[in-house]
Each structure stands twice: as structure tokens, then as C-alpha cells.
């Protein structure tokens, strides 16, 4: 009975992280993207805390704390401030229409389930499905990085990808170093935010403007 509850709740939270991953794909305003990301990080914190409880692994509470304080609060606030401060365009600029992005997203989730479930037949059931969810979140994060043009949305895509990785790591029973890994990622993200602010990066660099590319490849006169 208790086994079934812990199993169901872990999947419910994992699925919430995944739904938030889809939510990120269809937002049209930048601030809505940030709010959705904040929600995803909140769900991740819940997932990590639940795993800490189920696996009797108190160190995972640290991971949950990092997700809660750093990712769900500090990072969205910082990005919010950056968008206002740098005067970044407030609508999401897409390289691929939202409809197509969603269809590809669904295909990616199907792919991860078809890929992960058969190969983890011997692993614990709790790990199996969480892993499929985590891999879907990772792939959706990558999809977001590819199909969105603005530097801020690109960074949010990277952090969503990272949420998937942490979800996988906390679901792997007894995996050491999860806290260290989440700290390492947090440093990486903090550096990115600093970079955006310091160098005032508004756009991602592979611009479609040809003149811009010509001078920037450094290879032509």
C-alpha cells in the first residue's frame, strides 16, 4: 500500500515536471516563460524532496533546497530583472512555429518512453518510469534551445534540460554526488546570467542576418 503510494506520487511529481516542460514550449511572452520555469523548478524540488523521503537519503533534501531557492526563486527573479534592465524584447521569438514545436515535443516524449522502458526492464520500477520522464524533460529542453531565438529563452531551455538531468539523478537509487552535481550546475547557470548581464547579450549569436555572419566568421574580408 505504502509502496504503491510512494510510486504513484513520484510519478505524479515527475509528470508535473514534464508538463511544465511542455508549458515552456507554448508560452508567447517572456515573463510567462520565466513563471513556467519557476513552476517547473518547484515541481523538481518536490520530486527531490519526495525521493529523499522515500530513499531515506537526507542529502537529497539539499538538492531540493537548491532547486527551491536558487532555481525557483533567485534565477527567475534575476532573469526578470535582466529583461527589464537590458530592455530585451518581451515576446518570445520562435525559429519554428509553436504548433510544430509541440508536435515534435510529443514525438520526443514517445521516443524516450519507447527507448527507456524496454532497456530498463531489470531496474526498479520506481527508477524506470522516472527515467523515461527525465529523458523527455531533457529532450524538451534541447528542443527549446533549438527553436527559440532569444538569449534568455535559450538559457531557460538549458535550465529545463538541467532539471531533467537532476530528476534522473535523484531518481537513481543511492546515486552519490547528486548534491555536488546540482551545485556545479548552479554555478554554471549563475555564470551564464552574469555573462548575459555583463556582455549585454540580447540575441543568440547565430543571427539570420547575413551581413552579421560575414563579419563574424572572421574568415572573410
Amino acid at each position: 500500500m505504502l509502496q504503491a503510494l510512494s510510486y504513484d506520487l513520484a510519478h505524479l511529481i515527475g509528470a508535473t515536471v514534464l508538463m511544465a516542460g511542455f508549458g515552456l514550449l507554448y508560452q508567447r511572452r517572456l515573463f510567462a516563460v520565466l513563471n513556467t520555469f519557476s513552476f517547473q523548478a518547484l515541481a523538481l524540488a518536490a520530486a527531490a524532496a519526495w525521493q529523499a523521503h522515500v530513499q531515506h537519503a537526507p542529502h537529497l533534501y539539499f538538492t531540493a533546497g537548491i532547486a527551491l531557492v536558487f532555481k525557483a526563486m533567485i534565477v527567475p527573479f534575476a532573469l526578470h530583472w535582466l529583461v527589464e534592465r537590458l530592455g530585451i524584447h518581451r515576446t518570445v521569438e520562435t525559429a519554428l512555429s509553436i504548433g510544430w514545436t509541440m508536435i515534435i515535443g510529443v514525438a520526443l516524449v514517445a521516443l524516450s518512453i519507447l527507448l527507456v522502458l524496454p532497456v530498463t526492464a531489470k531496474a526498479a520500477a520506481l527508477t524506470r518510469e522516472s527515467l523515461a520522464l527525465a529523458m523527455s524533460v531533457v529532450l524538451l529542453g534541447m528542443l527549446m534551445m533549438i527553436t527559440r531565438r532569444n538569449a534568455v529563452t535559450q538559457v531557460v531551455g538549458f535550465m529545463a534540460l538541467e532539471n531533467g538531468l537532476i530528476l534522473a539523478a535523484v531518481s537513481a537509487k543511492g546515486m552519490p554526488l547528486v548534491v555536488e552535481i546540482s551545485v556545479a550546475f548552479s554555478v554554471l547557470v549563475a555564470m551564464t546570467l552574469f555573462g548575459i548581464f555583463f556582455f549585454r547579450i540580447r540575441e543568440r549569436f547565430d543571427s539570420l542576418d547575413l551581413n552579421y555572419i560575414e563579419t563574424f566568421r572572421g574568415d572573410r574580408q
Partner: protein, 492 residues
């Protein structure tokens, strides 16, 4: 996980650069800092040499075996010679007022932090610690690539940062999958992430999970190796950062990423039911070789030219390890060493050439053998060496790769030779104009300014590397020979 004590040379190898990174961050005088940088790199190198006499027992955190001991020594050595070159390079950059003392403090601190992360990644006995080290290496190099703060440098750093972050993100997913494969057999905790234990028990892991893990690891760490089509960050990062950083990126970072990949390959190969990792690596090797061979023809920027040449060589090395077997592995290991030494020598000479010429554009650099004969000829020798002309070491190792391929898969040898010849011709074509073309009528004002000690300093590491490559090409010492064979056996 216990921290090793002070009688363990590994403690020193890691503690020296880490402490130096802290010290150099607060040292205000850049001239002193550049010498401290050389001194601590020498101390690290000395500590790494101790490993050959006294090899510590593996712990849960760190370990040394036949494979990584030579990479640790190579990393410490190139770290030292690049520190010497960097001292001269920095002196000349500051004269030209391209760098402020604040930037330099940061630069020296990051240089040692970078060496620390490289050495940690090589000696870690834990897949997770290795991953954290590679991730930290990315961070330190991103900061150094953006040192000049120009628009191009920031673009390069951003691109490097985003692409490699995604790469190592995927590598972490692969690492988690390997842990999941090991966990049912080896139980929870650090045992299931220790290289020394993983390889022994890999035969009873679940093969499907290992297959999936290897794909993620190959794409993840492959991004950092610069394998095509994941190489987009590499030319930009090499071209826009300071030249000593280009030398360590090519000479060290790519090797360490490949080392990570090979460790995972050893685990996969120890399980009889997994897919063979070889064909995947051969495919990536070929795509890197051909993409870079063709790209070499269109380059107008001298540092980009040699960055593409690094992609080419990493392709050849990945191909060799993909072929597997004692001879091909031997060739791959030797090529890894020769490429590191030669490519850093090439970047040392390119660094001085670009400083003299005041430009990185190939068509504005010409007649080097006439204007600055010593530098010009060193440049010619270094480029011929990296192009793979006998009697240098790169020729020997490439010859071994080709001949071992001919012996086993003659059909694969044909495209390999075509790719190598294409790259060879491209480099020779570019070299012709730069070395023997008519000297420029209006030399850059910086030309000929460097004299005395800084010139000697700048030239020494380059000649030292070229001498080593020449010696290795003519006569590989039997000790090294036996050793490469032992490691080649380990790699399977």
C-alpha cells in the same frame, strides 16, 4: 570517500595548482604572477614525475593506472611549457596594451584552475567527480576565451559555453545511466561509480542500458572532443582567446575529453553483449576528418586554420580507437601524444607570428622565413610536423594508424588516406604563402620589437616540443614502447 594523505603524490598534483589559483587571484603584479605561474607548473610537473616511481594505491576518489599516468605527465608537461610561453606572450601583449593588469590576474588564476580541473578529471576514480571536473574545466576556459572582451571573443565564448554545457549535460545523463546499469550488480553508493570496480564487473551489467548510456556519453563528451558535427564551438574558441589558451585547449582539453570517452568505452567493451562501440567511433572519426579537411581550404584566419587541423587529428585518433586492437590502440595513443606536443608547438609559433604581424589573417602574413628566419623556420617545421611529414612523430603515428587499418579493413583505409592527403595539401598550400611569399612592404610597427629574454622564453617551449616530436619520430624509447603496448592492451 577519504581524502588521500600528504604522502600521496596525487595530493600534491592536485593541491599545488588549486592553491596557486587562489594565490594568483590576489597577486597584483602580473610580471611576478607570470613567474609564479611557471614555478607552480614546474612543481606540478615534478610531482607528476614522482608517479612513475611511486604509484599510490587506488582510493575511492583518485587512482592512477597505466593509462592515466602518462596523460597526467603529458598534461603537467604541456602545462609547464605553456606557462613559460605564456610569460613571454603576456609580456608582449601588455607592451602592446591589449591586456590590463586586472585581466592578467584573472588569467593566471584561471590558468592554474584549468590545470587543476584537467588533472582532477584524469585522476578521478569516480564517474561523477570526473564529470564535475570536466564541467569546471569548461567554465574556466570560457572565462579565458572571453579575455579580450571583443565582440568576437564574447561570441566565441558564448557559443562555446552553450554548446559545451549541453554536451556535458548529455554526458551526465550517460553517466547516470551507467550508474543505473551498475547499481543492481554493485549496490548503492560510490562503488557503482568507481572506474577500477566498474571495469571488473561490467560483464554482468545490463547491456541495453549500457548501449543507451554510450550514445549519450559519445555525443556528450564527443562535443568536447570537437568531433564533427558537434565541433562548432572549437574553431571560434581557439581563434578568439589568447594564444596560450589555444595551445592548452588543443593540447590538453581535447585529450582529457577523449580520455573520458575511452574510459566509458572500456566499461562497454568489458561487457560481451553490448553493441560494439567501434563503428560509432569510426563514423565520428571519419566525419571529423572530412569536414575539417575540406574546411581547411577556405580558412582565412591562421588560428582557425590550426583549430580545424585539431578537429582533423582528433578525428584520426577517434578513428584509431574505434578500430581497436593492440596496433590501432597503440597508434591512437601515440597520435594523442604527438598531436598534443606538435599542436601546442604550432600555436606557440603562431602566437609570436600574429603578435609580430599584428593580424591573424593568413593573406596579410607572408615571407616569414625572410623577415624573421628563426621564427619562420620553426613555424615551417612545426606546420610540416603537424601536416604529417616524416621524420616527425606525427608521421609515425599516422603511418601506424593507416597501416593497421590496411591490415584489417583495407576498404576503410582508402577514405582515411584520402582525408589525410586532403588536409596535408591544404596546410602545405597555406604554409607556402606565409613562409615563403614576398615579405610585406610595410611591416607592422610591432615587428622586431621583441628582443632578449622574452624572445628566448617564447622560443624555448616551441623548440623543446619539436625536439621531442622529432626524437619520437626517429626512435621511440623502448620504455615508452612497452608502455603504450600495455595501455593498448587495456583498451581492448
Amino acid at each position: 570517500m577519504t581524502v588521500p594523505g600528504f604522502d600521496n603524490p596525487l595530493t600534491w598534483i592536485l593541491a599545488i595548482p588549486l592553491a596557486a589559483a587562489g594565490l594568483l587571484a590576489v597577486l597584483p603584479n602580473w610580471r611576478v604572477a607570470s613567474w609564479v605561474n611557471v614555478a607552480v607548473s614546474l612543481a606540478t610537473f615534478a610531482a607528476s614525475a614522482v608517479l612513475f616511481h611511486h604509484r599510490p594505491e587506488p582510493t575511492r576518489l583518485l587512482f592512477i593506472d597505466d593509462f592515466n599516468v602518462y596523460l597526467v605527465a603529458l598534461t603537467a608537461f604541456i602545462g609547464l611549457s605553456t606557462a613559460v610561453f605564456s610569460a613571454a606572450y603576456i609580456a608582449r601583449e601588455t607592451e602592446a596594451e591589449r591586456l590590463s593588469s586586472m585581466h592578467l590576474r584573472f588569467y593566471h588564476s584561471m590558468y592554474q584552475a584549468f590545470l587543476f580541473t584537467m588533472l582532477l578529471a584524469l585522476t578521478a576514480n569516480n564517474t561523477g567527480v570526473m564529470w564535475v571536473a570536466v564541467e569546471a574545466a569548461t567554465l574556466t576556459t570560457v572565462l579565458m576565451v572571453s579575455l579580450y572582451r571583443s565582440r568576437e571573443a564574447i561570441e566565441a565564448a558564448w557559443k562555446y559555453f552553450i554548446l559545451c554545457s549541453v554536451g556535458i549535460g548529455l554526458a551526465l545523463f550517460g553517466t547516470t545511466l551507467v550508474y543505473l546499469a551498475a547499481q543492481p550488480v554493485m549496490g548503492d553508493g560510490a562503488d557503482a561509480m568507481a572506474w577500477t570496480l566498474l571495469v571488473k564487473r561490467a560483464a554482468s551489467f545490463q547491456p541495453d542500458l549500457l548501449n543507451l548510456a554510450f550514445v549519450f556519453v559519445l555525443v556528450g563528451y564527443g562535443t568536447k572532443v570537437g568531433l564533427a558535427p558537434l565541433h562548432a564551438w572549437l574553431p571560434d574558441a581557439h581563434a578568439e582567446g589568447p594564444t596560450p589558451i589555444s595551445a592548452v585547449l588543443s593540447g590538453l582539453l581535447l585529450n582529457v575529453a577523449l580520455y573520458a570517452l575511452l574510459r566509458f568505452k572500456m566499461v562497454i567493451a568489458a561487457n560481451p553483449d553490448t553493441l560494439a562501440p567501434g563503428p560509432l567511433m569510426i563514423m565520428m572519426g571519419f566525419s571529423s576528418l572530412f569536414v575539417s579537411a575540406f574546411m581547411l581550404y577556405k580558412r582565412g584566419d591562421i588560428k582557425r586554420l590550426f583549430a580545424y587541423s585539431s578537429i582533423e587529428h582528433m578525428g584520426v585518433i577517434t578513428f584509431a580507437f574505434g578500430m581497436g586492437g593492440p596496433v590501432a590502440n597503440f597508434a591512437g595513443l601515440m597520435h594523442m601524444t604527438m598531436h598534443s606536443l606538435t599542436k601546442s608547438a604550432v600555436f606557440f609559433s603562431v602566437g609570436i607570428v600574429t603578435q609580430n604581424a599584428g593580424t591573424k589573417r593568413i593573406n596579410e602574413i607572408s615571407g616569414l622565413t625572410e623577415t624573421t628566419p628563426v621564427l619562420g623556420w620553426a613555424f615551417v617545421i612545426a606546420v610540416l610536423a603537424i601536416a604529417g611529414l616524416p621524420p616527425m612523430g606525427v608521421f609515425m603515428s599516422e603511418f601506424l594508424v593507416v597501416s593497421s587499418t590496411f591490415a584489417r579493413q583495407p576498404l576503410l583505409a582508402v577514405p582515411l588516406i584520402v582525408g589525410l592527403l586532403l588536409a596535408f595539401a591544404a596546410l602545405l598550400m597555406r604554409l607556402q604563402g606565409m613562409a615563403f611569399g614576398p615579405p610585406p612592404e610595410h611591416p607592422h610597427p610591432a615587428h622586431g620589437r621583441a628582443t632578449g629574454i622574452s624572445t628566448v622564453l617564447a622560443y624555448t617551449p616551441m623548440w623543446a616540443h619539436l625536439a621531442l616530436v622529432l626524437v619520437a619520430g626517429l626512435y621511440l624509447p623502448p620504455v615508452l614502447n612497452v608502455w603504450f603496448q600495455a595501455v593498448a592492451g587495456m583498451l581492448g
